[in-house]
Symmetry: C2
Subunit: 279 residues, 2 copies
């Protein structure tokens, strides 16, 4: 799941991620990596305990060097957010306060809208163990909190940054269905192709007295067609199935394809045999 | 941001998380922790390289013991998904195939719907370094892939599990606005309270000849009221502001509150003084 590709577009815009008094260099590195995955690159560090620059951070960043190299250092949280217009504080605890509390998806939309209109925006994350103090939360405009298992709330710093970065990226996408690659588009088979399949199979089965007793044949055919219609086979799938039927119809276990045994040329009624590898 | 609280509801239902041939015990542990955060608990391990049980996994799981203890071991991926009805394969690479490719949010909704109707559902994650082979992807019904920075796609195993678990949890919530706690609800001030504020402030300013020249007064009052109307102050905010005005109005820098200097009783016109700590 790893890989940096410099030929592809490197996304580098969005809210600043502000780490207030982070402790371990490794965690700062993992934050940088989480940000880079979702196109964020502005990392602000408030008085990191283990100093800055920090080689453990660079190593844990897993080549998110553009984030590490541009990280800015501040002495206080106030300084770190001074130039921003709108800031979220992240917290897992009920603050018993009056600030609006948002879910990550709503917060990401608010950030995207303000970012688009030219505002400086950011998200503050607290210390690994203790998070943000009430005084630090008070510096933010609103609170964002993550929906977690009430009995097991144990998101670490980089995971919290990852989730907000992910929600940020999603707000920039055309739709929530969007994916970076798609299945190869497959045209559904035409009704003529589907009918060819039915006839092929029914003829092969009929030749083996599959449809017995005779008065049940219409119902048996109906059931068979229903089974084969439901999956909405594509053109190439129909080809595969025709190849399978031909193979079952024309060869036996005793005389498989390529065995040199004579093939009953009356079978398959001169139809082109599809698929089946080297057939 | 950590903390397990056994009094709260422990969520333990949802899709199985299937790790195909995971390598490091630590990663399995971090996967368990990610799952537990979002209420998932069914972990299936296909032939983990470092064996099972694994103490490094337990340590990295950060007390998600209910996930680690219940993890099931399988020899092959086929066995690990044999009892499931619908399975996603996660991949970051375009598979050049015909399987439907879904975004995490769409996949999570599909899983939730099938889970509700009683189907066994799961999500397969591949090896840390190389992900899933094409043959392994072929065992799944559909593909899920994450929206990432095209030039920096470097989600690790636990992060990928975290994002899918998070999306799963969100599909179980009443709305995307839902948060586990809310701001204390604040009633907007009544118009009478707001008018009291205006009168208080305007009287105090008038006494200081703030509104000059006299013919500009109506416009100055209008502007002031506009400024104070826009924030939709709450009742308690109005109280705070009234306290501020009273304090500025009744005391001076030379004779602050509590200095013992006589207070000009003509100021404040007998109005109750609000807020301002021990005032």
């Amino acid at each position: 799941m790893a890989g940096t590709n410099s030929e592809r577009e490197l996304l580098t815009e969005g809210p600043a991620i502000i780490l207030a008094y982070p402790q371990l260099g490794e965690n700062i590195g993992m934050v940088a990596r989480a940000m880079a995955n979702f196109g964020l690159s502005e990392l602000r560090l408030v008085n990191p305990r283990d100093g800055w620059p920090n080689e453990k951070a660079r190593s844990a960043a897993s080549r998110a060097d553009h984030v590490i190299d541009r990280a800015k250092l501040y002495g206080t949280l106030e300084e770190a957010i001074a130039d921003l217009n709108f800031v979220y504080a992240t917290t897992a605890r009920d603050r018993d306060g009056y600030k609006p509390v948002r879910s990550p998806i709503i917060a990401a939309r608010e950030l995207r809208q303000r970012f688009k209109s030219g505002q400086g925006v950011g998200i503050i994350f607290g210390r690994e163990r203790t998070g943000l103090t009430n005084e630090e939360v008070a510096l933010a405009d609103e609170i964002v909190t993550f929906p977690v298992n009430p009995a097991f709330a144990s998101l670490n710093l980089a995971q919290a940054v990852l989730l907000m970065s992910y929600e940020w990226m999603k707000t920039g996408m055309a739709s929530e269905e969007e994916t970076s690659f798609q299945a190869i588009e497959q045209r559904p088979a035409t009704k003529e192709q589907l009918n060819g399949l039915f006839q092929h199979l029914e003829e092969a089965l009929d030749a083996r007295n599959y449809f017995r007793p005779a008065d049940k044949k219409p119902k048996l055919v109906e059931n068979l067609r229903a089974v084969l219609t439901r999956p909405s086979f594509t053109e190439s799938e129909i080809q595969v199935l025709r190849g399978v039927i031909s193979s079952l119809d024309r060869f036996t276990r005793e005389n498989p394809r390529g065995s040199g045994a004579p093939v009953d040329s009356s079978k398959g009624r001169g139809r082109k045999v599809h698929g089946g590898g080297d057939d």
